[in-house]
Symmetry: C2
């Protein structure tokens, strides 16, 4: 049994894994799950990932791994995409946790509201402005870092770039304007120029 990736094509978290799999040249079976129809909350899916989320990667022995960044870490070990030292491992994780805590809940969630939902709930209407503010704050932190570094860790393309690229490059689908973030713009181009790069809608 090869690698099986349970995923939703519109997900940036899923795209992180699909991008690295493509760059590693690893074959895998893609099983699409429509999160808008609750396909990750069925008993069958919850047996694979009790937290009911994509991406979930099933290894050849049947073991399932969840959380996009944990999957990236697993796939990258021993390859050129993995950080090379103790400090770089910590810095890579720092940016990956930054992405999941200070970036994704704002930039990805606003994109989800505006790109995938036909109508917002009262709570979503009310929290949207704060999510926009915090999303721009995350972009500001990235811009400041990229003014001094070509990539996020160790001056070379790696896991932190993959983690941050996924939702940043579609931030405009949530209404975020990147015009005032020229360093981010240049970095997005550097990432898209990497060998083996595939766009978000590419199917292996």
């Amino acid at each position: 049994m090869p690698l099986t990736l349970y995923d939703f094509m519109g997900s940036g978290n899923g795209y992180k894994v699909r991008l690295l799999l493509a760059q590693l040249g690893l074959p895998y079976k893609l099983v699409e799950c429509d999160i808008l129809k609750g396909e990750t909350r069925t008993p069958q899916f919850l047996a694979k990932n009790p937290n009911g989320r994509i991406p979930t990667l099933q290894l050849d022995d049947g073991t399932c791994l969840a959380e996009s960044d944990a999957i990236l870490w697993y796939l990258a070990e021993g390859t050129r995409f993995a950080p090379a030292s103790r400090l770089e491992r910590a810095q890579t994780l720092q940016w990956m946790f930054f992405e999941q805590y200070s970036h994704e809940p704002y930039i990805a969630v606003v994109r989800f509201y505006r790109h995938f939902l036909s109508k917002l709930s009262p709570l979503q209407e009310l929290d949207l402005p704060e999510r926009m503010t915090k999303g721009y704050a995350a972009l500001g932190v990235m811009e400041q870092h990229l003014a001094r570094h070509p990539f996020f860790v160790g001056d070379r393309y790696g896991l932190a770039d993959i983690a941050l690229y996924a939702y940043t490059h579609v931030a405009q689908e949530g209404g975020f304007l990147l015009d005032n973030f020229p360093q981010i713009g240049a970095w997005l181009s550097r990432v898209a120029a990497q060998p083996g790069y595939v766009p978000m809608d590419h199917k292996a």
Copy 2:
């Protein structure tokens, strides 16, 4: 210059780092920052961590590391607290990302609302019930795992336990009742019985 930890004693994210430092027997200088008074948003602090958050660990060469779980990873490398195989590294990170994405924003944030704020904003009032629901969902995922395992990864105490313990053991300060989570209760006791354990308010 020894290790310097910038921290807020009420923070579970900070406590993760303080607990591991104690268990490793590593000396460090504690610099308390009152997040309620904006002390992590001063230009001086932002020069250490542009994202303006504690915990931030300054290494002996002046390098600063942010994000509690990245700091744990750094400190644990080469010690008995680090996961022992490629799969266990991925599983440890899976639980750490679960904690930061599916647990902390609900269990820790509700605790922050109820334990540290004197008055909630209209948005906080409105989002509190959903945060309670999602916090209980995270506890449910933990309970299910702990019914089959004494600790989160590899059947021994490690980083994933430290990451999840910090806010779970004070969940009642946010109004979460743990009575229906007996496996979590037993695991909390197992963590508190580990050699070198220190409580949240312990100062090195």
